[in-house]
């Protein structure tokens, strides 16, 4: 395979510890190699440019049934933003819920090379994989949801940790899934009856288990298996004023538990889109930011990682497995509401939403998302995200970078708020003058997420042996720049390499790449009890047969990358 | 005497089964080349069951066999299973939705006992060539 030498760029790599020094990066056979290992490389001159590893998005809704509901029920999301195909590029459309083709290209244009689909309903796994297959360039994995699954609820109620672990391993294999995702634990099962679980002690109707038991049990099962990623959670009570206490209660469930396994992660809980879970006050009237309390906890406990879920102030489409929340949202904003409950497993809801700078609550939400990052002591544990598309489309990541790196840019935005004074009173951001630098950004968008996912042997840095996912940005950090220059440069990479293939050359997409689908194959001891329970539930309660459930076939996962886990020790 | 009824179209088991065997075959004609009339409408029409009739709407005309309604009573409503006979009659106007108005077509039914019922392939072929009576 071709050899490349990216010469003389300003490298920001937390894995090698390079903070902007001019360094050469060599690529050979799809991997990063020592610079003396390439004999006749094609040279890319990166003088005066920024070089980083490919970005890793730990949580985005980009592939699957609820994403497609978002696309199909919002034709207006395609208005005025279509892009005809040209050359090897196929046609693209969609703003907040882009088509899969646009998703791959838009991530690549920002220098992102690995994206995790945040929630996959197991019964619909084939759909998720079909969309992942049709998303060019980026490597992807998908997180099956477990927090409302009937098997899990029954095993954890009876404290059957081994059975829960065996079921998780079975489901990951059947759905070609990557990690244990938990959304509104117990609450989405309650939503099967139109009810919810609003705090961690609120028992699930009929199953009579609390969210606290579900979360604790799944953390333990995850560590029992030693999976690459930790349990990944969207806690109860999302979106409600005062919910930060539920979030802290949820965080505390991880106390005292250390990670197990060979993948190098140090957290046992990853809490996602924490902005939606940091709300103080007790009504929309006295709604305020408690990002401070949240970050006090996160900063003091190194076995937790979080991602921001930062609001971008766009018209967007919310979609989540937190079905009851979406119903609540449509009652609030009276926009169209789609809901899809899934037998024995989960549910979902989709509702458009407009985050307007003229609305006090939206502006406070905007502040909170950024506060979480600006108050972070360890950028290796706090990751950039917008919970795409819930708090905003992922194409705004360069804009969020701008806000994090420039107090001036933040102040400009705050000036546009109609209720500026009330917003400032209710938040902390006006008093924060911290400006993140590119090294910290690289921690939050590359090295940190890769490590938290258990993928630091593949992604997140430029050390020899890692996958050759390398980005060159037309941005010189040593020359004076305006904040908008950040957004422009990081939204339109000059060069992108994915697994050593030159994907973007001089801002043009020149290859559709050969994306891989990552999934985890965990080996456990044979468990006849669990297999018997599986057979029984399929026979009696599912509407597909057991034999037709597992995702099998080259056309779903044409280029798999399987991560083996041996949990029999 | 000719009668006026409100025509709807739709699926039937016989339509489904016969089409899988082939729409050129007699079973499909027997399943779909029919109009189901309520006994009260038969009486007004003054025909015996299983008589051929001509059904005419603003949009076209077709010969089918009049049979007694199998899922009635529904006086005033007539039923032709979905297929090329029914589609000779329906309003093609989609009202900007893409959907022709398949259900709810005012039609006139009169006895035409000597006129033949064409099979589905003949019907569309002759129709396209302008060879229909």
């Amino acid at each position: 395979m071709t050899e490349y030498l990216i010469k003389n760029g300003f490298v920001f790599d937390p894995v090698l510890g390079i903070r902007g020094d001019a360094t050469d990066i060599a690529i050979k056979d799809g991997k990063i190699v020592e610079t003396d290992a390439v004999k006749n490389p094609k040279v890319i001159d990166a003088t005066g440019k920024t070089v980083m590893a490919g970005g890793v998005d730990i949580h985005a809704h980009v592939a699957g049934p609820k994403v497609n509901i978002g696309r199909n029920f919002r034709p207006e999301d395609k208005l005025f933003n279509a892009r005809p195909g040209r050359g090897i590029e196929r046609m693209q459309g969609g703003f907040s819920v882009p088509t899969t083709i646009r998703t791959g290209y838009n991530y690549a244009r920002m220098g992102y090379t690995t994206v995790m689909e945040a929630a996959m309903p197991p019964l619909y796994a084939r759909h998720t994989h079909e969309e992942i297959r049709d998303t060019p360039i980026i490597d992807q994995g998908a997180f099956p949801v477990f927090g409302n699954n009937w098997f899990v609820l029954e095993y954890l109620k009876n404290h059957e940790l081994e059975n829960a672990a065996a079921y998780i391993a079975w489901l990951l294999r059947a759905t070609k899934g990557y990690a244990v995702k938990v959304v509104n634990p117990g609450g989405t099962e309650a939503w099967g009856w139109g009810l919810n679980c609003e705090n961690i002690h609120d028992p699930v109707p009929y199953f009579d288990i609390t969210p606290a038991q579900i979360v604790k049990g799944l953390i333990e099962a995850n560590e029992y298996l030693g999976l690459p990623h930790s349990m990944h959670i969207h806690a109860n009570n999302l979106g409600n004023p005062g919910n930060y206490t539920t979030t802290l209660d949820t965080f505390k469930l991880s106390e005292g538990i250390r990670p197990r396994g060979r993948f190098g992660r140090q957290q046992v809980m990853h809490h996602t889109h924490v902005q939606f879970h940091s709300y103080g006050g007790d009504s929309w009237r006295n709604f305020e930011s408690r990002a401070d309390a949240i970050m006090d906890y996160v900063n003091a406990h190194d076995n937790i990682t979080i991602d921001m879920g930062a609001v971008t102030l766009d018209e967007t489409t919310t979609m989540t497995a937190d079905g009851p929340f979406e119903h609540h949202l449509t009652e609030l904003n009276h926009l169209k509401w789609a809901n899809a409950d899934v037998e024995l497993e989960t549910g979902s809801g989709v509702v458009p939403y407009i985050y307007s700078p003229s609305i006090k609550v939206c502006a406070i939400q905007w502040c909170m998302g950024l506060e979480l990052a600006l108050l972070a002591k360890d950028p290796m544990r706090v990751f950039m995200s917008t919970d795409h598309p819930n708090a905003g489309p992922f194409i705004r990541y360069p804009r969020i970078m701008k806000w994090l790196m420039s107090q001036e840019a933040r102040e400009q935005q705050i000036e546009t708020f109609k209720h500026k004074d009330k917003v400032i009173d209710a938040t902390h951001i006006a008093g924060i003058d911290r400006e993140l630098d590119l090294y910290e950004i690289a921690q939050m968008t590359r090295a940190g997420p890769a490590k938290a996912l258990g993928l630091s042997e593949m992604y997140g840095g430029l050390a020899p042996g890692l996958t050759a996912d390398v980005v060159v940005f037309a941005f010189n950090p040593n020359e004076p720049y305006a904040p908008d220059d950040i957004e422009k440069a990081f939204g339109d990479v000059e060069h992108l390499f994915k697994t050593g293939v030159h994907i973007i050359n001089n801002h043009e997409i020149v290859s559709n790449g050969n994306k891989r689908t990552l999934w985890v194959n965990a080996r456990v001891h044979e468990n006849p009890q669990v297999m018997r329970d599986v057979r029984e539930k399929f026979l009696r309660y599912y509407t597909v047969t057991l034999n037709n459930y597992e995702v099998r076939g080259h056309h779903y996962v044409p280029n798999p990358y399987v991560i083996e886990v041996d949990a029999t020790q | 005497m000719a009668i006026r009824v409100n025509l709807i179209t739709g699926r039937s088991i016989e339509q489904g089964v016969s089409m899988e065997a082939g729409k050129g075959k007699p079973a499909y004609t027997a399943a779909c080349g029919i109009i189901e009339l309520d006994p009260a409408d038969f009486k007004k029409l003054g025909a015996f069951r299983n008589t051929n009739v001509r059904v005419t709407s603003e949009y076209g005309s077709v010969i089918v066999k009049a049979v007694e309604a199998t899922q009635g009573p529904h006086p005033g409503v007539a039923y032709i299973p979905m297929g090329p006979w029914a589609n000779m009659l329906v309003d093609p106007d989609t009202y900007s939705t893409g959907m022709p108005t398949f259900k709810g077509t005012p039609v006139e039914v009169e006895i035409a006992k000597d006129e033949p019922i064409l099979n589905s392939l003949e019907l569309v072929r002759k129709g396209c060539r302008g060879e229909l009576a």
């Binding site: 049709d134 037998e343 309660y541 | 489904g16 949009y59 529904h74 589609n87 709810g104």
Partner: protein
């Protein structure tokens, strides 16, 4: 001598039963028996073995007769027709697998076609309504395990989705529904006393075409407000009774079909039905689901959704995807003479479009890909028979509740027959050659 293939998926309707058992000869060439299918599904499987089945393409001659041609010749005609057309219509897609649909998308994108599927004459108006008001829904297993109030509005599953009631909606004993149908209340709304209505607890024999008013009246009844004495032919006492029955349930589900999608009101009827469901969620849990017709029309909508952003009526002729029902829908395009070639696959518009549209297909260069001889093949210039998906080829299909199931290849296709996928791939390759790989 024989072997039995289990867990076979039936490729007929949106019920997408996946528990069929098919007995085949040991050499895998002959299909002998089918178990568990409904009459229509069984017929589909068994008729695939018909002795008079067409196994080679054919082209219409000047004198009106058919002449057998090779697959290569059929590919050539199709590729040339699509490559030289200014705005071809590529219609159907509903009785084939997602892989074929996906290659079709590539072709459509390449030649600037308008892509439309059978939703255009089935649940297209539902899709339009969903784009206005959304849709609270669920999977069929939620119905099986939880639902105790079932409404069939404008649909007749006894005839169109024969195993629906026994597999999902009325008879099964689910986790929370151990009493089976005795624990459920069934309501049917239909202008006829259909075979489905005959087993219902309540049948509202609505005046044909007046469903919108009745749906609206139910919303009024939910709120306990005043109604006129009779709405759409139904006395108000009955309407209040139905409203109370629905509110008193634990989980209500409305299944709906052509009675409301095809009658005047069309998408507005569906909008009203979804509004009823939304309102009902204030009192109890409620969901609504369209009874999709073809076994993979849902899949076509999904594939185009993620590739283009729209579920049907997708106009690619300007190089990017546009959607405007009434403008980009098949029947409107044909009526107004706005397409200059027609490619039809996995559907039968010749039988199911208004005749005036069929005449337009007859007048244009046209190709039909279909295992059977149909009114569509009768009016096209080239007819290409292919293997049956779900019988002689596998591939993904999406059920009416959007659950994707992988269909199985159960038996070999007749010697030398192509599958949809193979044919489409060859057409795409040939088009690229003809156009010199330029779009």
């Amino acid at each position: 001598m024989t072997k039995t293939v289990t867990d076979v998926i039936c490729p007929f309707c949106g019920t997408l039963c996946d528990d069929l058992e098919v007995v085949i000869s040991n050499d895998g060439k002959n299909l002998l028996e089918v178990y568990n299918a409904c009459a229509i599904g069984a017929e589909k499987f068994l008729q695939s073995q018909a002795k008079d089945r067409l196994i080679r393409p054919r082209m219409r001659q000047e004198d009106g007769s058919w002449k057998e041609i090779t697959y290569d010749e059929a590919i050539e005609y199709t590729a040339r027709m699509l490559a030289s057309a200014k705005k071809p219509l590529m219609y159907g897609w509903s009785s084939t697998n997602c892989e074929a649909q996906s290659i079709g998308s590539e072709i459509g994108e390449y030649v600037g076609a308008v892509m439309d599927n059978t939703a255009t004459v089935c649940h297209g108006t539902s899709l339009i309504a969903v784009q206005d008001i959304g849709i609270p829904s669920c999977t069929l297993g939620e119905v099986k395990n939880r639902a105790d109030r079932i409404v069939f509005w404008g649909c007749n599953p006894a005839h169109a989705h024969p195993r629906h009631m026994s597999r999902y909606s009325i008879f099964p004993r689910g986790f929370f529904t151990g009493k089976g149908h005795t624990g459920r209340k069934m309501i049917v709304v239909d202008p006829r006393v259909t075979d489905t209505a005959r087993i219902a607890d309540i049948h509202l024999q609505v005046e044909q075409g007046r469903d919108y008013e009745l749906l609206d009246a139910i919303r009024v009844a939910f709120k306990g407000e005043q109604l006129p004495d009779v709405v759409a032919g139904i006395p108000k006492e009955k309407i209040y009774e139905v409203a109370e029955t629905l509110k008193s349930g634990r989980f209500a589900i409305i299944f709906f079909g052509m009675g409301v999608t095809q009658s005047l009101g069309k998408n507005h009827n569906i909008d009203a039905a979804i509004a009823v469901t939304r309102d009902l969620n204030e009192y109890t849990k409620a969901a609504i689901m369209p009874m999709r017709g073809h076994y993979n029309v849902t899949g076509s909508g999904q594939v185009w959704g993620w590739q283009f952003g729209f579920p049907f009526a997708v106009d690619l002729s300007r190089g990017f995807a546009r959607y405007n029902p009434g403008e980009t829908t098949a029947n409107d395009l044909l009526r107004r003479g706005e397409v200059d070639a027609v490619f039809i696959i996995a559907s039968d518009p010749g039988a199911h479009f208004p005749f005036s549209s069929v005449k337009k297909i007859y007048d244009l260069p046209s190709v039909a890909i279909d295992p059977h001889e149909t009114p569509t093949t009768e009016v096209c210039k080239v007819h290409v028979p292919v293997a049956f998906v779900g019988i002689e080829a596998g591939g993904c299909a999406y059920r009416m509740d959007n659950v994707p199931i992988e269909t199985r290849k159960v038996v070999e296709a007749p010697e030398g027959m192509m599958t949809d996928e193979e044919f489409l791939r060859s057409v795409l390759a040939r088009i690229k050659e003809i156009r010199g790989f330029k779009r």
